[in-house]
Symmetry: C2
Subunit: 154 residues, 2 copies
Amino acid sequence: MRAEFVNPFLASLLNVLKTMASMELAPQKPRVKKDEVARGDVSGLIGMIGPKTKGSMSITFDEPLALEIMQRMLGERPNGINEEVTDMVGEITNMVTGGAKRILADRGYDFEMATPAVVSGRGHTITHKCDGAIIIMPFDSEYGKAFIEICFDG
Amino acid sequence: MRAEFVNPFLASLLNVLKTMASMELAPQKPRVKKDEVARGDVSGLIGMIGPKTKGSMSITFDEPLALEIMQRMLGERPNGINEEVTDMVGEITNMVTGGAKRILADRGYDFEMATPAVVSGRGHTITHKCDGAIIIMPFDSEYGKAFIEICFDG
């Protein structure tokens, strides 16, 4: 897990939410996840495979934050996590990973993206199982928290 | 999403649990997931990428079934879903996908596996976001239910 993999994902989430939802998240300091547990209500997960490494990435949102993003992106606010919200989280997952992929390809780290899956369930946690360290990037907002977690082999 | 992708995953889960945990699951008929929602307490998720397609797979367990597999595989039974259980579910996810990968490679469908991630949270659901149909394979046991879900683009 290389440190230079962190910022492209962090910058990509800020950019996607600013562009698509006029939402400014406040990024906290990225750190290695040890005993820390990041809980959230809806998460997008995606696998990545390159010639030199493979890994996985998740983006987890508190429900009120996900619903606020939904309202700003699509002009509608469901009462809870429904299929439109999971579609949106899947799309955000694709866009954030695609943005990071372009930045990292310019630096000589190529990878391909699998298709995303979206987890829905109050207070769930995700544990990435790879050989390298898990990096957690917390984000604050007035509507709730978000987390990116990434892990790459090697 | 090709129908011949289904049986290798189904057979691989039965084989892994029989071999590793002396656990016989009763497979139910695989079906296309439409409005159906498969809930569970702990899930392994993995991305797959091949030259012609990409997709994702999840295996979801009820907590009592996951704990019974844990006891049979490792001789210990924690009180709930802890890191040892998520490690085991990640390993099962790798083994099942690896088994299916070998069967499918023999048939001319090659893919690479990303690293798995494990979701923990009571009654969570997973929605695979790909272009193809989502296939759900339910399994029964006296300890609880399990589900495989797979989805491939194209």
